[in-house]
């Protein structure tokens, strides 16, 4: 039975058609004096650990654009399937789209097999896609989940290599997090101890790495249950300003004003709150 997969046809290896076009575009932009836009990276500390009943995945929540914080509370733990989640470091768009594509394909595959998806299947799909793109997709992932074979944890690198290990860290804060793991990891930990270990590893990344910051998200996956704790720990609260910076009406000067009446009637009204933190 042929596998159904959504979003792309893959025949043969990487298509280099667009490289010529990109080189020409890059030259044109440089001639005009501009630089091409840089992809936003997440900076990041992500990690995972296998414990007695399952896996615990952890991530920080800062997204950086150069050395400026673009998002103070972004979500780096992505859903792959009900029993498999994936943390992503590297280029933000790449981690987001890659995990969504594989999640979609895995759901179709699961309907085709009639079984709960396996972590090894997600791993195989991710590494085959990343290798096909020869490292141009900058996604460094920590994939974890529990299936019929037991709890499993994989680290996946942008060029397509994977490692199956009991504890892994990725991202710019990976060294800080790995230092904590190497000190305190033991096999077959209890859930509370495993959560504390992952929390402390991410905290080490948050405080010692400039590319990571804000809060700690955790995802505890066991057989039959997933605890998506976002945030698990608000390690850094927003600073409180004492002054009042609201402006009175009329502070901004109006140069010209043109009023056009539109005869409309309200048909439906809905309210969506904005995240102003």
């Amino acid at each position: 039975m042929a596998t159904v997969s959504v979003c792309q046809y893959h025949r043969g290896g990487f298509s280099f058609e667009n490289c010529k076009r990109n080189a020409l575009l890059e030259a044109d932009i440089n001639k005009l004096g501009f630089s091409s836009p840089a992809a936003r990276k997440t900076g990041t500390t992500i990690c995972g650990v296998v414990y007695k009943d399952g896996v615990v995945l952890g991530a920080d929540t800062r997204a950086t654009e150069g050395m400026v914080v673009a998002d103070k509370n972004c979500s780096k733990i992505h859903y792959i399937s009900p029993n498999v989640y994936c943390c992503g470091a590297g280029t933000a768009a790449d981690t987001e789209m890659t995990t969504q594509i594989i999640s979609s394909n895995l759901e179709l595959h699961s309907l085709s097999t009639g079984r709960l998806p396996r972590v090894a299947t997600a791993n195989r799909m991710l590494k085959q896609m990343l290798f096909r793109y020869q490292g141009y997709i900058g996604a460094a992932l920590v994939l974890g989940g529990v299936d019929s074979t037991g709890p499993q944890l994989y680290s996946i690198y942008p060029h397509g290599s994977t490692d199956k290990l009991p504890y892994v860290t990725m991202g710019s804060g990976s060294l800080a997090a790995m230092a904590v793991f190497e000190d305190r990891y033991r096999p077959n930990m209890e859930e509370e101890e495993a959560k504390r270990l992952v929390r402390d590893a991410i905290a080490a990344g948050i405080f010692n790495d400039l590319g990571s910051g804000s809060n700690i998200d955790l995802c505890v996956i066991t057989k039959g249950k997933v605890d998506y704790l976002r945030p698990h720990d608000v390690a850094n609260k927003k600073g409180v300003r004492t002054g009042n910076y609201r402006y009175k009406h009329g502070t901004t000067g109006v140069l010209t004003k043109a009023v056009t009446h539109l005869n409309l009637e309200v048909v439906e009204e809905s309210v969506q709150t904005m995240d102003t933190t």
Binding site: N22, K238, T252
Partner: protein, 238 residues
């Protein structure tokens, strides 16, 4: 056969392959250690504030390395950029202050220090000190003075100035709140010491949210005719 995008040149054609010889890797004498400084001048006071984080790349060297250096009883300098050059430059300034005091039998005024710093910096025009300086102090009449510099010695007297990594985030807010720019129908009250200190604290708290190089703690040096007072405020540590 794998061909990467690097094999294509600007005009879209493939580049000729030839061995270019051994590649030289450059040593850079400079490093960027981050940090933000800010100075505000009032009617009879001056403030010089800086964060205390020293970083390099993605790491933190120290959480307690202030960038304000006291020069005289009425002048403080804030230096950010390459920490090695900051230390050497402040040593040179302190030595020159001593020499002046011994020859002229009086301390240097803020304006004189600023003029001297300009010549010191331009002296290394072709291998600059990688330092962004801001001097804050009281002038001969007791009024607040701020002098801001570029790395090669161009300077001017200001009412307020931000320098360093988060300067682009702080300067527009100061333009609005102290300079009353882009505002109409607003009572332009003179800046009091309390309001200035509150503003400096708030502005650094905001900078620490979005600039990765700014954080840990804020040190404010408050210069009045009574002397120099210090205040330390904690900032985000992530």
């Amino acid at each position: 056969m794998m061909i990467s995008a690097r094999a294509y040149g600007d005009n879209g054609k493939m580049k000729e392959y030839h061995y270019t010889g051994p590649v030289e890797h450059k040593f850079s004498p400079y490093a960027f250690n981050g940090g933000t400084v800010l100075a505000v001048a009032g009617e009879d006071f001056a403030l010089v504030a800086s964060d205390t984080r020293l970083s390099e790349g993605y790491s933190i060297h120290s959480r307690d390395s202030p960038k304000c250096y006291k020069l005289t009883d009425t002048t403080v300098i804030g230096c950010s950029g390459f920490h090695g050059d900051c230390l050497t430059l402040t040593k040179i300034i302190e030595a020159r202050l001593k020499m002046y005091k011994h020859s002229n039998n009086k301390s240097m005024t803020s304006g004189a220090i600023a003029a001297m710093l300009s010549t010191i910096l331009y002296g290394k025009r072709f291998f600059p000190y990688y330092v962004y300086n801001i001097i804050g102090g009281l002038d001969e009449e007791g009024r607040g003075a701020v002098y801001s510099f570029d790395p090669v010695g161009s300077y001017q007297r200001d009412t307020y100035k931000a320098g360093g990594s988060a300067s682009a985030m702080l300067q527009p807010l100061l333009d609005n709140q102290i300079g009353f720019k882009n505002m109409e129908n607003v009572e332009q009250l003179p800046l009091t010491l309390e309001k200035a200190v509150q503003l400096v604290k708030d502005v650094f708290i905001s900078a620490a949210e979005r600039d990765v190089y700014t954080g840990d703690a804020l040190k404010i040096c408050i210069i009045t005719k009574e002397g120099i007072r210090e205040e330390i405020v904690p900032l985000r540590k992530d």
